[in-house]
């Protein structure tokens, strides 16, 4: 039983990692119906930023964290301006391809600049474990869980209760109509990319002690976070968290109880089953015009 609970808890920690990355996918999708395949690579870049600030320049952890998040927000805006704005409104798949291209590009550029070794930084969460009875949870994982929950709550409130959040939802429904209603559509899209890149940077910084920083980390985690976002219903913020948790727990339990090999495909099997039953994901809204 203790094994089970320990696996469950580590699954939840893993799930929060996926949820945190999935949050970035969901934000951009929620505001602009664009799917950003480079989200994992933005996270990787955030990790490298923080390595540069903390590991190389020796800035204090929290200040370096802040710099990395701000730096990534600017980077996100720049990406939106250069890559996304010209093709906004064209078929979704071409934007998907463009962001896949961006991912390729960022991965190899990061590999060229920072090398291909695993990098690590000293963080306040690196050592230390939390013990509840016989249950053990490392501080770095705890920090991810806490951050994911806080970010989800903040962003959920932002989308549902602020003017800007409402404007973003309107933009995603129909850009032209939103523009006629006086919503500064370009600024909205730019802002959401900044927020999403900042969330990716948070993920990158918090994951740095767990996965270390290397140029392929984004690809690996991004491909797991993506099903999480889809499972939760792309476009639902709590859905990203729940989807991430489901994927994480399944992966963790499958790795423990099932023969080798199941760990990697179990999340995808569950995803396919869920998509068959509920094509719009668990929390997604889907309406179809009736003919």
């Amino acid at each position: 039983m203790l094994d089970f609970i320990q696996q469950l808890v580590s699954g939840i920690a893993l799930g929060c990692v996926y949820g945190l990355i999935a949050l970035g996918f969901v934000l951009i999708y929620k505001a602009t119906e664009v799917v950003n395949f480079a989200q994992g690579d933005l996270m990787m870049l955030g990790g490298f930023f923080v390595f540069t600030f903390i590991g190389l320049m020796g800035i204090d952890y929290w200040l370096g964290f802040l710099f990395a998040v701000c730096g990534m927000a600017v980077f996100g805006m720049a990406t939106e301006r250069v890559l996304v704005r010209p093709i906004l409104g064209y078929p979704q798949f071409s934007i998907v391809m463009a962001t896949i291209g961006l991912g390729y590009f960022l991965r190899s550029i990061a590999g060229m600049i920072w090398g291909t070794d695993d990098l690590r930084i000293e963080t306040p969460f690196s050592a230390g474990v939390l013990k509840i009875g016989d249950l053990v949870l490392a501080h770095d994982k705890l920090s991810v869980i806490v951050a994911t929950v806080i970010l989800c709550a903040v962003l959920y409130a932002f989308f549902n209760y602020t003017r800007m959040g409402t404007a973003m939802r309107a933009t995603s429904e129909n850009m032209l109509a939103a523009y006629y209603m006086g919503i500064p559509v370009k600024r909205v899209v730019s802002l959401i990319w900044a927020i999403s890149a900042a969330v990716a940077a948070c993920a990158g910084v918090l994951l740095a002690p767990i996965t270390f920083i290397h140029s392929n980390v984004g690809l690996v985690l991004g491909l797991k976070a993506f099903p999480a976002a889809v499972l939760g219903g792309f476009g639902s913020i709590p859905g990203a968290l729940v989807g991430g948790l489901i994927i994480g727990v399944i992966e963790s339990l499958a790795g423990f109880y099932l023969p080798q090999g199941w760990k990697d495909i179990a999340p995808y099997l569950v995803l396919l089953v869920v998509l068959l039953v509920r094509p719009q994901g668990l929390f997604g809204l889907s309406m179809r015009k009736k003919v």
Binding site: V96, A98, T116, N174, I265, M287
Partner: protein
Amino acid sequence: MRFIFKTDYDQDIRILKHSGYWWSYGVLLAVMLAAPYLLGSYLQSQLVFVFIYAIVGVALMILTGFTGQASLGHAAFLAIGAYTAGFMQSLGVPFIVYFPLAAILTGVVGALVGFPALRLHGIYLVIATIAFAFIVEEVLARWESVTHGNEGMRVRALDLLGMPVPRDSEAFYYLCLLVLVGAVLLALNLLRSPTGRAFVAIRDSETAGKSMGIDLAAYKVKSFAISAAITGLAGVLFAHKMTFISPEMFTLLLSIEFIMVIIIGGAFGVHGAIFGAIFIVMVDPFLTALKDDLPVLVASIGDSLGMSPEAAGQLREKLAKIGSAAGLKGAIYGLIIMMFILFEPYGLYGRWLKVKLFFQLFPLYKRATFKRQKTYVKSERNR
């Protein structure tokens, strides 16, 4: 400018619309038939890869270009075809049996993948096909009695009715060419049939298609099955060309490469698949050549512009260093994808059409002919 006087309704759907087609495609076919005797063995081998990629490109064109169903799982179909060939061959089944069998098997698997696609669209479909590809990859790695797992599998030379066809021979080249021509003719024929028109209708608007009485479910499954079956044929050829197959050859990156074939080629016509395949296969040797020659070339240009020999030498070394940096290929790949989507969304075939139209209308060509209409994002959630 050619004006075609139509005297027959069939003229609209003929594959070879007028004598110009006979000429140009006849010449192309003749060149392709003569190519093994004109080109070196390296280029011939590259051409075989172009053919295999083009076959997959045609398959993907039917699914993505015509039916509008995106797939990032075609590497899995290729893998199923390749492993069918490898396994059947080890059982002693002759080529003429397992070649169509591979197509049937992948076709059936494709139809099975198509079923969830009935309810999914857009990004959900993409992720479902990715999930499918991952599962196939893992199965190939684990099902060791058939696939030999991660060790990979040797594929012996192709044996066509008792006649051995090694991977570098002219016969293998002609076989690939034959399959490609067959696939292209199939796609063109499909496109002018009611089935193909139904595919295009589904791509343009599912709602409109449905109200015209098109059975969405049947046609989507059909499209998936046809596309997968053609990819399976390519898989058999791929296995025989590589002579060694292992699960890590059929990853997501290969699926992305296949999508790049049709994006770069231009995802609205069969020509695009061919152009894209040429580009994708040739970009690699081209980059390698560029890596070796460009630093020398730039240095010699700098030299002729009056740069001091030391500065030119330094420049050359610097460029060579950048050129040999690990991962440069990925960056260039990424740049190519982004550039095509931003600046040439109709792909190479679109550029070809523009150039052609420019000469046809010579002084009257307007850039605006190909200008994209401004569109606005509308939610796909309630389409």
